[in-house]
């Protein structure tokens, strides 16, 4: 079950959008700000952005869905991103990722049934000389092994 969040109000959404409207190319900053506040991009925001930026709702949706970062529903309380890129693969990153998914009984992008943790792939965290790497929320961890990953999962409540 995903994290329970109250439904964002129109006023809250409008206030966030207003902060960025003056910027050149305001859409990505708006989407990042919405996601930082609510954990996802509320459906109600799409029409409001479209109106504000003189775009169609389909265009806004097209942008939201293009980028891996933006979610249309909340994630778990914690997000663990495991690097799948070549430098981490060279030091066993793929095996670590497979083990982790198997242990959690999840596929990529899925959330544990208790809503504690979402697991996502990421392609490079710039930790290429100290892999395998993962990012737990905003914190990067290097030279991961099974034991360290197990601690991360426990701490996240998975």
């Amino acid at each position: 079950m995903p994290q329970t969040t109250s439904i964002p109000t129109d006023a809250e959404i409008a206030a966030i959008l207003a902060e960025h409207k003056h910027r050149e190319g305001p859409l990505l900053p708006m989407l990042h700000a919405l996601q930082a506040e609510f954990g996802y991009i509320p459906t109600a925001a799409i029409a409001r952005i479209a109106h504000l930026l003189n775009m169609t709702k389909a265009e806004v949706h097209g942008v939201v869905s293009f980028y891996h970062d933006f979610r249309e529903r909340p994630a778990g309380h914690h997000v663990v991103k495991i690097c799948r890129a070549e430098a981490c693969q060279a030091v066993g990153g793929d095996a670590l990722a497979e083990e982790t998914l198997a242990k959690l009984g999840l596929d990529w992008h899925a959330t544990t049934p208790n809503g504690a943790l979402t697991v996502e792939p990421v392609y490079c965290l710039g930790m290429c000389a100290c892999g395998p790497a993962a990012m737990v929320d905003d914190k990067v961890v290097g030279r991961l092994d099974a034991a360290r990953m197990a601690r991360i999962l426990t701490e996240a409540g998975a």
Binding site: E24, G25, P26, L27, L28, P29, L31, H32, L53, G62, V63, F66, Y67, H68, D69, F70, K81, A85, E86, A87, C88, Q89, A90, V91, V122, Y123, C124, L125, G126, M127, C128, A129, C130, G131, A133, M135, D138, K139, V140, V141, G142, R143
Partner: protein, 505 residues
Amino acid sequence: MKLYIPMDSAAKALGADDVAEAVRREAEARDLDVTIIRTGTRGMIWLEPLVEIDRGNGREAFGPVTPKDVTALLDGTLDGHGPVENIPFFARQTRLTFARCGVIDPLDLADYEKHGGLAGLRRAIDLSSAEIVAEVTDSGLRGRGGAGFPTGIKWKTVMEAEAPQKYIVCNADEGDSGTFADRMIMEGDPFTLIEGMVIAGLGVGATKGYVYLRSEYPDAIAVMNEAIRIARAKGALGEDILGSNRSFDMEVRVGAGAYVCGEETSLLNSLEGKRGVVRAKPPLPALEGFLGRPTVVNNVISLATIPVIFERGAQLYADFGMGRSRGTVTLQIAGNVARGGLFETAFGITLGEVVNDLGGGTRSGQPVKAVQVGGPLGAYIPVANFDAPLGYEELDAKGGLLGHAGLTVFDDSVDMLKMARFAMEFCAVESCGKCTPCRIGSVRGVETIDRIARGDADAIPLLTDLCETMTDGSLCALGGFTPFPVMSALNHFPDDFATQKEAAE
């Protein structure tokens, strides 16, 4: 006593924050007068967390340090490496772009100035636009993002374009696996990037800059934002730069996890708030870039190298290197390697020297099988080609590409068919969707490699043909260069593509 502890995210990923906290507590318990200075990394990642102590006689390095070592560290009984400058990996480098990285507090503008910072900008302020651009051209600097296009020529095009507004856009969407130089300099010496962008602005007549920084780098985002705020407060950015009556301002824009946005035209679309779809060229971004205005799009390392070129002169920079690859290259030694990290040196060092001498072979101790040079779109180079000198044209002649100079080492446990499949899979995940050969070809590529894996030899010519179509029929390097890792794996490591079939027979 001063302690220098990195705040670089790789060092933090290996426990630098815990070490800093342990030092703080231990010093407090002993009532020691200790100043902790958080720096960038010196780039020797296998030694991180690398702590330097100055007891009044210069900095001595220790590492990797764990919180448990802190007692011995402060007692003076921990074994160390002596001064960083004496560590062979560091001693063999020529640090121009990264001269300050790991040395100074990244957010101390006065310290930055004390180490040569802002000298280049002060010199540039007294030059005309044409003189600034000529200096860059004379330095021989080429785009460090991978394409190697001469930076001076790009700047000249923008300088000569007439427009009410021009832009400097820094491409900090460092998505290539095996590369971390951009992240390292943004976290370790952000003012050098800011200074480079200001000089670029003065050179081409742009007053606004953007750093398009990937969301996977939260630490770099935080450091850059803070550095911009400080630079603005101290007059190095804004309305009247260093009292010159010239203006330039900039901001960080955060990417959203799309690899293809490292391609300059899709980056510009993303910056404008669109899907990060590649644009056809022409028009060149130099003439119709961000919001249709003339725009310099340069990689972080290109821009961060500008200050030292102006500080020490174009000729000094150009005197390093070989052939048409002038200056220094910031090699990033990554993957399964004993001594991984950043190594800045003049162009021309061979791949073998880097991997075996500097890198010390693999971390696992197994023999090296292949090195992927230039990120996910770069070729896998076998040990037989280790005599290849690292330069743009030189590597090209060996069927590789230098790219952003990331070198990912693999030991003999790697299955090259699997790596070829991954290259296609990655292209399928990250394709912007504009070109059919990239969007569909990559999916068919995965399927075709799976056929080969099942022992279907007929699929091999099909894969070759598909790769040719992707190379010829894609607008950008994602679809166009994915065949590099795929075909290099197939050509150099045919055994990995044949074993299944032989087993089946």
